[in-house]
Symmetry: C2
Subunit: 130 residues, 2 copies
């Protein structure tokens, strides 16, 4: 029940990209964040796969948002970065089980997703989140 550093880094770099005009390379992001560019590459690949950032290779390449920051909801970002760990506990996910607690976990994860989907990258980069 905690946020991985991968997710943390992911949101951090997104808020850098949100205020940058040109593509930003992993090396430059390393300077901003202090996180190794090699590791950021991994994080950014995940964000690229879900079409939140677009990556261009080669000289003058780098990463940029593939949509406006207000059209990027934190839900999709966090779900991707936490990979399959955002699902409800196995027994519930695999539909069969109906242990008494399953409704609690469902309620919890629905709530988590609702909160995250209610926040856009724009709000984060501008600090206007409530």
């Amino acid at each position: 029940m905690k946020i991985s550093s991968k997710t943390h880094y992911g949101v951090q770099v997104l808020s850098f990209l949100a205020v940058s005009e040109k593509p930003v390379s992993a090396k430059e992001l390393e300077k901003c964040t202090g996180v190794s560019s090699k590791y950021l590459e991994k994080v950014l690949k995940i964000l690229s796969d879900i079409n939140v950032v677009s990556a261009t290779r080669g000289a003058n390449g780098g990463y940029s948002l593939s949509r406006n920051a207000e059209q990027i909801r934190m839900g999709e970002v966090v779900r991707a970065l936490e990979e399959d760990n955002m699902e409800i506990i196995d027994c519930v996910a695999k539909s069969g089980c109906c242990c008494p607690s399953s409704k609690l976990w469902k309620k919890l994860f629905d709530g988590i997703n609702e909160i995250l989907d209610g926040v856009t990258l724009k709000e984060i980069s501008e600090g206007t989140i409530l």
Copy 2:
């Protein structure tokens, strides 16, 4: 960002205890849940430390709720079972940092706690959770 099996087991055994009059031993709970009594002992020790169950040793001993089920909120249970992993990410917890994402994590964890504190053990054991 997932629920550990320890937490899952914890809520499961609590809902057993909620419908039992007499103290229930770890061995009996093993029969109900399929989880080894040795491991359940650990889980129950945590719940005992936060005064949600009371344990009595010796013959005819076992575990029972130390309060009415409607007075046990899932928030305290889950926070205890997940130990320190329910805190906001380190950089935020240690007050100094104000990376742009910190407000998001704070909002998220506040929301999680609010959801969990809004559900009582009674609702779980009776299945009346919304």
